[in-house]
């Protein structure tokens, strides 16, 4: 670069200097920008420098410059969570004090409890009962009006707290159906007969009325103790209702026969100890609201 001063030509119309380079004969004017523009630029530069000093800005290999203000988005989030918790506190305190009926009578509280319950359900229960709580084969549907152990608040709470056939809770709900076929308690024919009878309980006309009639006797001898007369179910024993349209392991003859021959048993963990009482309360309230609450 030459050190001598370059002379620029001046455009006679605008009074601006003309840049010495020309592109295909087209020159460029060196019209200066307005002062406020230049000053705004300067202020922006200074602002950026100020920002680097004040806030986290430059990364280096093992970390980053923290800035003198000590700002951190992580701390911000923690603060916001704490604020949200604090905002929930009055509702939570009220929830802890009131019983279920009182919560249900307060629309605002029930909305709060249901929202909390829904979140907890998604985290803890949806894996087995489904995110819509409609269950699956072997996992009870919580939306319908059929309950193995009962669908009122207290019973639901008991079930959630202590689980079903849970291995680590003394107070867990226990029920065990004998393997009638596998253990040779009933013969194959008896199993088929009792299946025909059980299916007739829910109103379907049996394919073989004679078998169903024979099955009635087998049922009376072996099943009534848990499933009740005519299969009305026995909640104290966890004996499922058999005279309705709802089947935990399927309602076709094959599925029912499989269950009589070698029954499967679901396990529900005990949630007391894993979830705090307030969380359980919200869960119970939510499940009760799904449509089958008693």
């Amino acid at each position: 670069m030459s050190s001598e001063k370059r002379k620029y030509e001046v455009d006679p119309v605008t009074g601006s200097a003309i840049h010495p380079y020309s592109w295909d004969g087209i020159g460029e004017l060196e019209t200066p920008p307005p002062r406020w523009w230049v000053l705004t630029y300067l202020v922006c530069f200074l602002f950026a420098v100020g920002w680097w000093v004040a806030y986290p800005a430059w990364p280096y290999i093992a970390g980053y410059t923290k800035g003198v203000l000590g700002f951190s988005t992580r701390a911000d989030v923690a603060e916001q969570i704490a604020a949200a918790k604090a905002a929930q506190a009055p509702y939570n305190n009220k929830l802890a004090q009131l019983d279920y009926a009182a919560i249900a009578a307060d629309p605002e509280l029930s909305t709060f409890a249901m929202a909390g319950g829904k979140a907890l359900f998604g985290e803890n229960c949806a894996q087995c009962h489904g995110s819509g709580a409609n269950g699956n084969v072997g996992y009870p549907n919580l939306l319908d009006d059929d309950w193995l152990w009962g669908g009122d608040y207290t019973t639901l709470e008991q079930t959630v707290m202590h689980g079903v056939r849970s291995t680590n809770d003394e107070a867990t709900r226990q029920s065990q159906m004998p393997a009638f076929g596998k253990d040779g308690i009933l013969t194959r024919e008896q199993v088929d007969d009792v299946v025909a009878y059980v299916l007739s309980l829910s109103g379907t006309a049996p394919a073989d009325p004679a078998a169903a009639e024979r099955g009635a006797q087998v049922f009376a001898d072996n099943c009534v103790a848990c499933h009740g007369d005519a299969g009305v179910g026995l909640r104290e024993m966890g004996g499922p209702k058999l005279n309705d349209a709802i089947w935990l392991y399927g309602g076709d003859p094959k599925a029912v026969a499989a269950q009589v021959f070698n029954p499967r048993h679901g396990v529900m963990p005990a949630w007391a100890g894993r979830l705090d009482p307030l969380a359980i309360k919200k869960l119970v309230f939510y499940v009760h609201s799904l449509g089958g609450g008693e």
Binding site: K7, G15, P32, P34, S110, G132, G203, D244, A245
Partner: protein, 483 residues
């Protein structure tokens, strides 16, 4: 672009002498008197009175809603405008109003040019107010120029401090009034002084103080010339018949100094006194013709007319006129007014249609609204006795500041039984709607197995408010297993 300037401009310049920023001369608008100035004072007084006064008007809406006539309740997500209450989902009404306002502006611009800029734009109104204060403190144009050139002194410091303090005060009042539109005015004003108002309130006041100071005190005409988009596209609405402030060169040229008693023969009526330039708030010379920087304030009209009075010539060397008339007058013909033309009729029609649309939207607005969300997971539930049940979340909007009770029914679904969560025992579920709130209720519809034919059934949820004789129905469907 006069010849003299070209002659003075050197033909070369050293690289080092090219300025970093342009040295545009500052404007020191001179005081002017006249009918247009008076009209502008009146408009300014009315507009400022509206701005500062409106939030104080009360309007009784009962115990559950604010009693401020005009209020935008941001936390409550609602806007109150006299009888109307606008919910977020009705923002289209606001959009419609903005469209009406824009078309109205286009219409006025096509007719009268930039009258908005010259009279009603907040940038102009506040700049005018700031200039008035400036004139009180620092004097008129000549004194201000002198003060500007003067070296630093206690007197200069005193005047500048007084001026900036006064501007800051007006800025604060401006910001302070802005927040009144978003808060209950009588509550928030004392809170402002006791430190109880929210951070957002203080931040808004601070920001608006600063921006008012900057825009009306420092930036002024530069906002109109460089920042305002409307200034840039207004030429699209202009035509030959648009009223603009214009100098009549045919009458004014050839300009030149004039001594009392001299003849006007063989010369123009412009005496080159530069009064029109001195009073111009944007610092331009209207004699150069229509230009983008002109905000059509008409102050140069007042200035020139008073000069014409002095030299004993008729008014109107500078006047509001159309381009067509300037030409016609130049040829000695009669001016022609062409108000009804495709452009103005077009804008007028669109304006009327948009206005009617907004009016209709406001009139047809229901004080109650409902929407339904059918459960998708699962679509249906089989109950013990074989019946089918569908679940729905019904959102009920009560857009009035009163409590209302509504009945929920399913219409068009024979055999169905409706229950509302929390109202299971009621034969016809009746739900209370809190004032100005959205209620989300869970509704179950149960259909006997015999009534299910295997394909989805369309039906309506009908929400009835017997008290007000209001019904809203929302269509939805009932799902079940394929048969």
């Amino acid at each position: 672009m006069s010849m003299t300037m070209n002659n003075r401009t050197p033909t070369t310049i050293d690289e080092a002498d090219i300025p970093v920023w342009s040295h545009k001369p500052k404007t020191f608008p001179k005081k002017v008197k006249g009918p247009i100035r008076n009209l502008k004072w009146a408009v300014m007084a009315v507009l400022l009175a509206i701005y500062w006064g409106v939030p104080w008007f009360r309007f009784d809406r009962g115990p559950f809603a604010p009693d401020q006539a005009i209020l935008i309740d941001l936390p409550g997500r609602k806007a109150y405008f006299l009888w109307f209450e606008i919910w977020p989902q009705e923002v289209y009404i606001v959009t419609g109003l903005l469209i009406v306002a824009a078309i109205g502006l286009f219409f006025v611009t096509a007719m009268l040019g930039r009258v908005w800029c010259g009279y009603a734009c907040p940038q102009t109104v506040w700049t005018d107010l700031f200039m008035l204060v400036e004139r009180w403190i620092e004097g008129d144009r000549a004194q201000r120029m002198k003060l500007d050139r003067a070296p630093f002194s206690m007197k200069k410091l005193g005047k500048r401090t007084a001026k900036f303090a006064a501007w800051a005060f007006i800025g604060m009042m401006t910001g302070g009034a802005w927040i009144l539109y978003f808060n209950d005015a009588p509550t928030v004003v004392p809170e402002l002084f006791t430190g109880e108002a929210g951070t957002a309130v203080y931040a808004t006041v601070a920001f608006l103080t600063f921006s008012t100071f900057l825009m009306a005190g420092i930036a002024r005409e530069n906002v109109c010339t460089f920042m305002c988009p409307y200034a840039r596209f207004q030429s699209a609405m202009f035509d030959q018949d648009t009223m603009v402030v214009s100098y009549h060169p045919a009458r004014g040229e050839k300009r030149g100094k004039h001594k009392a008693g001299e003849s006007w023969d063989g010369r123009g009526h412009c005496i080159d006194c530069r009064q029109c330039v001195d009073v111009c708030p944007t610092g331009i010379d209207i004699r150069d013709g229509l230009q983008m920087s002109c905000i059509s304030c008409g102050l140069c009209v007042d200035a020139c007319n008073s000069i014409m009075d002095k030299v004993g010539l008729p008014h109107g060397l500078i006047s509001y006129d159309t381009e067509r008339n300037i030409e016609l007058k130049a040829c000695g013909q009669k001016p022609k007014w062409n108000l009804l033309r495709l452009r103005t009729i077009g804008y007028g029609v669109v304006f009327a249609l948009a206005g009617l649309g907004v009016l209709y939207a406001l009139m047809a607005r229901q004080p109650m609204d409902a929407s339904v969300l059918a459960d998708r997971n699962p679509l249906f539930v089989r109950l013990s006795n074989g019946d089918l049940r569908n679940g729905y979340t019904l959102k009920l909007l009560n857009k009035t500041p009163e409590l209302h009770a509504v009945e929920i029914a399913a219409v068009g679904l024979t055999g169905a039984e409706v229950t509302v969560l929390g109202h299971e025992t009621e034969a016809v579920p009746t739900v209370e709607l809190a004032p100005d709130a959205v209620a989300a209720i869970r509704v179950f519809v149960r259909l006997p197995e015999a009534d299910w034919k295997g394909s989805p059934l369309d039906f309506d949820f009908v929400v009835t408010d017997h008290g007000r004789n209001l019904t809203v129905s929302v269509p939805t469907r009932f799902e079940g297993p394929a048969k």
